[in-house]
Subunit: 307 residues, 2 copies
């Protein structure tokens, strides 16, 4: 009766690789009163995890070297020592990267067994919820306006694109590779999709986005930073909104090579009266039930596709 688990073996500089992790076996723990033992079937792999591998000051504590890598998971209850959960229940919680986890009942949530279990980690979980909050609270979509989102086939981008389309926006996907671009349009209904890998400089990428957004960009849903940000900035319209939920392009280190582009950004903020708003989803969990209700209220499997 062992637990297989992945621990952080060393802090990566630059790209994270297998050498920064270690597979361990330990004895399976027993749940105490009020706790639940879960057999984990699905693990999430999210961009924010790169931040947890680093000890740079951030909004959350880093994972300690030698500790189980953090992350959301889905699994079945093997043993419950609380009334709210029973053996066999399908649940989600912050299990970490391991085969079995003991968690307090207060940190677990039952999920609908009629849906794909992985959806609780994607479009129906933290990433989808982040897209919903960011778009509605800070993106403020309006009919006839144009939205651009990168990583458009990820669960955040896919959710944002579908909600924006439903709100009457023109939607422009940015994704890496022809296959993802095809999925963005065919599965998620983006009006157009741009393969950023097809461009080796910001100017050409910008021209492609401009062609797909002939009326300019009203909402740039920011999850990548880097060249996509640089390409989009001059295309923003007056009163454009920029929810910032991630900067994936810079998670493994950002180049500070000049020129300094902050003054140009700041001028855009003023002249175009931009609204830029950072978002970390744990400020918004109170709204999660409303999000699930919204999806149940006719979206799921219709307007919103859960991969």
């Amino acid at each position: 009766m062992v637990v297989e688990r992945v621990v952080l073996a060393a802090r990566p500089e630059g790209s994270a690789g297998l050498e920064h992790f270690r597979l361990e076996q330990v004895d399976r723990p027993a749940p105490a009163e009020g706790e639940v033992l879960v057999e984990v079937s699905h693990l999430s792999l999210d961009p924010y995890m790169r931040g947890r591998m680093s000890d740079a000051k951030s909004y959350a504590e880093p994972v300690a070297v030698g500790a189980v890598m953090t992350g959301q998971g889905v699994g079945r209850v093997l043993e419950s020592r609380t009334e709210g959960f029973a053996e066999g229940d399908l649940v989600t919680g912050r299990t970490g990267w391991q085969s079995h986890a003991v968690l307090p009942a207060t940190e677990l949530r039952k999920i609908d067994p009629s849906l794909p279990p992985s959806s609780a980690l994607g479009v129906l979980g933290m990433p989808g919820f982040t897209g919903w909050v960011g778009l509605n609270k800070y993106g403020r979509p309006k009919t006839g306006e144009t939205l651009v989102v990168a990583a458009a086939t990820g669960p955040v981008g896919a959710m944002v694109g579908q909600l924006a389309k439903r709100a009457g926006m023109r939607t422009v996907a940015i994704a890496g590779g022809a296959e993802k671009c095809r999925i963005a349009q065919e599965t998620f209904g983006f009006d157009s999709a741009i393969d950023h890998r097809a461009f080796d400089n910001v100017k050409d990428l910008r021209a492609a986005i401009a062609a797909a957004a002939p009326d300019g960009v009203d909402v740039y849903f920011e999850n990548v930073g880097g060249d996509v940000l640089r390409a989009v900035l001059p295309l923003l319209n007056t009163h454009a909104r920029v929810p910032v939920i991630g900067t994936i392009a810079w998670y493994e280190g950002a180049s500070n090579d000049g020129p300094d582009t902050l003054p140009a950004l700041w001028r855009q903020v003023l002249v175009k009266r931009l609204s830029i708003q950072g978002l970390i989803i744990f400020d918004h969990w109170n709204d999660f039930p409303a999000f699930l209700d919204m999806l149940k209220g006719g979206y799921l499997g219709k307007q919103v596709v859960a991969l």
Copy 2:
């Protein structure tokens, strides 16, 4: 019967100087039906005017070379061809830099003759209104929080500081020179004042601000950009708000010398969930009557000092 007027003679590169303007005399125009002839007694000199001297794309058209320099003024009605105004009325409007102006009645506003006429161009005019809108709509002051504003003895900064103080905030002024710092504290009631000229590098300026804001900065009311922005950024608290109403430090050209500081800003936006909002006051004129009402309702000459 002539009009003396200042026209833009050439577009400045870098600092604007006398050589970019020319004094002219022209015949005094007569008002047409619906227009008013004003003898101008007070002219405003505002940072935004540097933008009008440039033909870089912005939110407003540049002043044409050879045209009267734009700007708000105060004066008395010499001749009225409309019912709403009579000879002798004290008015304000976009007169431009000239001794006399003919304006449509719809573009003039009568002002209270019991107040200093220049106040209509300062704390009771566009700048004061900008401070009020920026602080209340986008700064969202809260008791016990800390505000930092530069150019603190200007009409925007002075208004912002006084309103923030009244809202229960700790207020930190940044100004140029000991005399302005004294005025910021003694006249406008800032809790502390920092002379940015006393520092020749961002790090030391930052240390001085940090000492005056021991709990960090919750509202950075941005009107300067440049080194003050760079100094304040790392001091911003989680959920800090940054209304951006001007970037004076960069109006005569910003250095793009590296390193590129945009990635660091963007990380702060995300990690601290910053709210950055650009503001151009002409989007908000509908609220101007409420602003004047607020000042009349007991503020003027009590909490709010109009220089």
